[in-house]
Symmetry: none
Subunit: 132 residues, 4 copies
């Protein structure tokens, strides 16, 4: 069941292809069931600031078994998880680009993407998910 490095590479490769297609270089990370990084790549020209963000979007998605874009809605002022971004030593990312990876109905890890608009990050992450 566990995600392998080969799985992670297939997922990253599909995400990269999507990023190339839309012309936006990205940071892409995959974490395992424990929330720990299996692999990360920064495409040429992608944001330096996205290294941390891609890894932590993946962590966040696995930490709460949720897409970070859905967590965003619940983390706005006056919503039920407002303030959650202060937890976990700054590792909680509450904007689009992180998606759990599911195999045979179980969460086995997550992908995190950072490098463009929220919509672009989401699209690239979704392309990665499809490769699992």
């Amino acid at each position: 069941m566990a995600l392998t490095l080969e799985d992670a590479r297939n997922i990253i490769s599909a995400a990269e292809a999507k990023a190339t297609e839309i012309g936006q270089p990205m940071n892409i990370a995959v974490v395992d069931v424990g929330g720990n990084v299996i692999s990360h790549v920064r495409m040429d020209g992608a944001w330096l600031g996205g290294i941390d963000i891609s890894i932590n979007k993946a962590f966040t998605s696995r930490a709460f078994d949720i897409q970070t874009k859905d967590l965003a809605e619940n983390s706005q002022p006056n919503q039920q998880f407002y303030g959650i971004a202060a937890s976990n030593n700054g590792r909680i990312m509450i904007f689009a680009g992180g998606i759990p990876l599911i195999r045979d109905g179980e969460v086995v890890g997550a992908i995190g993407v950072s490098g463009g608009s929220g919509n672009q990050d989401q699209d690239v992450a979704e392309a990665g998910v499809k490769a699992l």
Copy 2:
């Protein structure tokens, strides 16, 4: 292409002149293409809290190749990057005063300014940019 210490000093000197002109002492920092500090100065009377902020505004501008005032707009509640300030171990500054430094069409570093109002910080940073 790489920013030199001499470049950084010219940029800081121009920013200082502007700060003196408007009568507001400032912290001014310049980082290189890797987001690492080349030089920082705290003018006499400038905020202690601005040491960290000026350095991290410069880091943020390079990390996302964006002016921090533009990042501010996208980081408000319900906007696409709301929550980004929790990333990168607290180094992301989402208010005016950080600007990428561009040479021959490429980002080679950034300037960060902290010590006054958002408009003042922005004006002083812009004066620094013109010296490159």
Copy 3:
């Protein structure tokens, strides 16, 4: 001159081949000239604790343009850099496995490896260096 993601992948691939040859799964990371991660992989079965260590061995090697095994010697009690491991917010690794990457006589980044004994980490890192 700048290291590309393709460069990083070639380096990591050569390091992985060596790790497979000696039968010890490894974490392998490559950073650029600014000390920022380009790519990281954790081979199946490699230590979770090595994610951070491999990335920070690479950072350390670039931060001081030195092999981490050489820094080790100078960081022992009563040596000139004793205590350096407390600097840079815990990112300085003072044991074998980090090596600068040099192209045309200039340091352009570094590789960091963690997963086995000091000698094994060093051997795998050296195999990576040869691929540049």
Copy 4:
């Protein structure tokens, strides 16, 4: 009595001249009586890892009103301050290159230097001190 930015620049300038004379690029920082940075410069080609270290050598020298090379002796295993490097959130540097700045018999700040051997850092810091 307070150190001014002009004082800091004179001190840094003298230290830079010494670094140039010995052919070793350095990071040089000056802090005020509160241990807060007035100015920092990274000479072209100096270690990235020395940014943090130069600033924190200066902080340490003012924090304990002592040269960091003297603190080193007391911080070795089995000595009275062994373990002090774990205090102050990693800001305590216990190797040569930090020296208090004294005016009219009072400590008004400190200089910190990082970029070469312990002896080189100490020599460059001493050259800076003489400019006060």
